[in-house]
């Protein structure tokens, strides 16, 4: 069986700082990681491969340095890495990204066999939209299984798959036809640690690098900024809120006194509040 796992290299959000003066995100020097949700997708793909045989191809779209994330994925145990990189892809939103990735998956299918399952993570930690996986499924006409927490059964002969899906209020047990696209939920498995053989192979592997043309993409208007209707209007850091609790001592324990004391304390700290409340109340 052939499985494709889509991963994204993202800045380690735990180490991102907001510039205190300009309020912009400081990307310089922030290490990159594989989107953590994608690791659960990769592990689930590797488990399927180990159980049923076949190969796992990892696909990423990004700048040339995204190569690191592919090598890391190979070090965890994937068989093949494909890097989709082209300046035409710069500025892609989820619509353009799902287009480029789906075209690359078609090309992967032509080259190494049509995949039975395509995996993505539930969402990325930098975009947080959870749109790219479903977008790929729609474009390629794959059955779409989102928020999957486990795979119960794969019937390659009967071309079907059964999964558990986290839904509001419970877990759904879903069976559908292959090929399918699965977006994997976090915490659904424990990502393995590659052997020294794997990490050595990952460090030295020849990666497949495709530009738009090599991936068979002809509709350049669907790619990058041109293919992205989403407009980022403004990026800003929300104002830090003071969250320090202030204990208020009350004179008595009865409700009325407690309320009076709390209100008195509120007025004391926010002098404008009393006048404002009175002004509002005057209208009634």
């Amino acid at each position: 069986m052939h499985i494709v796992v889509c991963i994204k290299q993202v800045p380690d959000s735990a180490q991102i700082r907001v510039h205190p003066v300009t309020n912009t995100i400081m990307r310089q020097g922030v290490p990159t990681i594989i989107n953590p949700y994608d690791l659960f997708a990769l592990e689930e793909a590797l488990r399927l491969r180990d159980r049923l045989g076949g190969t796992v191809t990892v696909l990423t779209m990004g700048p040339p340095m995204a190569e690191d994330s592919l090598r890391k994925a190979l070090g965890i145990g994937a068989d093949r890495g494909v890097l989709l990189t082209d300046r035409f892809f710069a500025g892609s939103d989820t619509l353009a990204t799902s287009y480029a990735l789906s075209q690359a998956i078609l090309k992967i299918g032509e080259t190494w066999g049509v995949p039975e399952v395509v995996f993505t993570g539930k969402q990325t930690i930098d975009g947080d939209t959870a749109q790219v996986g479903p977008g790929i499924a729609r474009r390629l006409g794959l059955q779409q299984l989102t928020y999957v927490s486990g795979i119960s059964e794969v019937d390659l002969a009967g071309k079907s798959i059964t999964v558990s899906r986290r839904a509001e209020g419970g877990v759904q047990e879903l069976k559908t036809a292959l090929p399918a696209l699965i977006t994997m939920l976090e915490g659904s498995n424990e990502v393995r640690r590659g052997s020294i053989v794997d990490v050595l192979r990952g460090a030295r592997a020849e990666l497949v690098t495709w530009n738009a043309q090599a991936a068979g993409i002809t509709e350049m208007g669907n790619c990058g900024l041109r293919g992205s209707p989403t407009v980022v209007k403004r990026v800003f850091a929300p104002k830090a809120r003071a969250t320090k609790a202030v204990p208020i001592e009350t004179r008595e324990r009865d409700a009325e006194t407690i309320a009076e004391d709390i209100i008195a304390q509120l007025y004391a700290t926010q002098p404008a509040l009393e006048a404002e409340l009175l002004r509002t109340a005057a209208g009634y």
Binding site: R193, S195, V197
Partner: protein
């Protein structure tokens, strides 16, 4: 499960300055080099003040200035003797340091080490991160022939192992090549990075462009313990830290972060970091035992470089340059042996130590070998003298209607009372003898 069958010319343990220097030197010469780093990426576990000494790196990567992530080149050095409310300082600032190829830079290690490691990869070295070497593999005769890691897939074999695993030296320790660190020989330093806008850094320290200032401080800030504090300017931040010998800290019970907090609140320091935002807090050990605390640094199939070899010149606050130079010399020795088709035996690797002896590294280590013990046994050097100097300066500078002769005799009296003439002479002699 599959195991690694191939054999490497050299395995380098650790991707700090020493490990990167060794790996780069050997990979560039065409050796098959495997470098193993336990951190998520090279530099993620590494901590330093940090000052980069250009000379040591130039001898490895001559054109490093073209793309290395450097913060500021140092044009001013301040040495402060501090008591609780004052500092007596010596400042040296020179336009000569604004040269085409500056001599010292402030750097941020997490960024710098990643850059250095990328050079190792470009030179053809294989770098594996998140891979911890657990111990050395030896043959029946006790010769080192490879390493074991915390990953499956069996031992990794090589003709020689360069241990540059850092101050704790756990690999060498577990493999019985060196003893556990002694609390007397190691300092614990804590550091914070304080974010400040570039123009604020420049106006506070009177700087232009990429120029920078470093402050080294000693005195009552270490509360009677042997240690120093520092403040370095980066592009958009200052690094501030303080470190003391571990045994002193254990005895005093003072918490490192409390020590740093009170250093930050010192009236001479507080205005320099006012309004800043703390970006990170780190702590690290520094091997400060000097030459006498050095372990054996070579043997059959192994050499040690950098902090793991205890190569730190505490007096001059130098360490990374000794690390890079020892890493380079270890690498060059191995390349030299390979070219002569000689095995990496203890007898042959003695050449590494010889090259270290011929360089500034062991010459400086030897020169200051008595200093750690001197500081340790003579606390007055770091406590009494800064206070005395502050007292002298105040008596001298305060205009209060007293006659100058009266002031002078007041100064002499206070000095004699605090240390005594014999004590002063003895300290002077002790210091001169240790320094020589």
């Amino acid at each position: 499960m599959a195991t690694v069958q191939e054999r490497f010319d050299a395995i380098v343990v650790g991707a700090g300055p020493a490990g990167n220097a060794a790996a780069f030197t050997m990979a560039k010469a065409g050796l098959k080099v495997l470098q193993l780093e336990r951190g998520e990426y090279p530099g993620s576990k590494n901590v330093q003040g940090a000052i980069l000494y250009a000379d040591a790196l130039e001898k490895i990567i001559p054109d490093f200035r073209e793309d290395a992530p450097l913060e500021r080149h140092v044009i001013e050095q301040r040495i402060w003797m501090m008591d609780d409310s004052s500092h007596t300082g010596m400042h040296y600032r020179s336009e000569d340091f604004n040269e085409e190829k500056p001599n010292r830079y402030t750097i941020i290690r997490a960024q710098f080490d990643r850059w250095f490691s990328s050079k190792v990869r470009e030179a053809g070295g294989i770098v594996l991160c998140e891979t911890t070497v657990t111990e050395l593999v030896k043959d029946t005769k006790g010769n080192v022939i490879g390493v074991l890691t915390d990953r499956h897939g069996g031992p990794l074999l090589a003709d020689v192992v360069v241990m540059a695993e850092g101050v704790n030296g756990l690999v060498g320790q577990r493999s019985g090549l060196r003893e556990e660190l002694k609390p007397d020989n190691v300092a614990l330093a804590v550091k914070e990075m304080h974010f400040l806008p570039q123009d604020v850094v420049e106006s506070r320290f009177n700087l232009k462009g990429d120029a920078g200032v470093v402050i080294e401080a000693m005195g009552t800030i270490t509360k009677g313990m042997t240690g120093t504090g520092f403040l370095y300017t980066n592009k958009e931040s200052v690094s501030i830290g303080i470190g003391c010998i571990v045994s002193d800290m254990a005895k005093s019970g003072i918490k490192p972060y409390n020590l740093l907090d009170s250093f930050k609140q010192h009236p001479s320091i507080a205005p320099l970091i006012a309004g800043s935002e703390v970006k990170e807090y780190v702590a690290h050990l520094i091997p400060e035992g000097g030459f006498r605390a050095m372990p054996e640094i070579y043997g059959n199939g192994w050499v040690v470089a950098g902090d793991a070899a205890h190569l730190v010149n505490a007096v001059h606050r130098e360490g990374s340059n000794l690390a890079m130079t020892s890493g380079r010399l270890a690498g060059e020795t191995i390349v030299w042996l390979k070219r002569r088709r000689e095995p990496c035996t203890s007898v042959n690797l003695a050449e590494y130590k010889k090259r270290l002896e011929d360089s500034f590294v062991l010459k400086d280590m030897r020169k200051y070998q008595k200093i750690p013990a001197l500081l340790h046994g003579n606390r007055q050097l770091l406590d009494l003298y800064p206070r005395m100097m502050s007292g002298i300066a105040q008596t001298w500078l305060r205009v209060d209607g007293k006659a100058k002769t009266a002031k002078e005799s007041e100064i002499f009296k206070s000095v004699r009372k605090q240390r005594g003439l014999a004590g002063l002479v003895a300290d002077g002699l002790r210091f001169a003898r240790a320094w020589r």
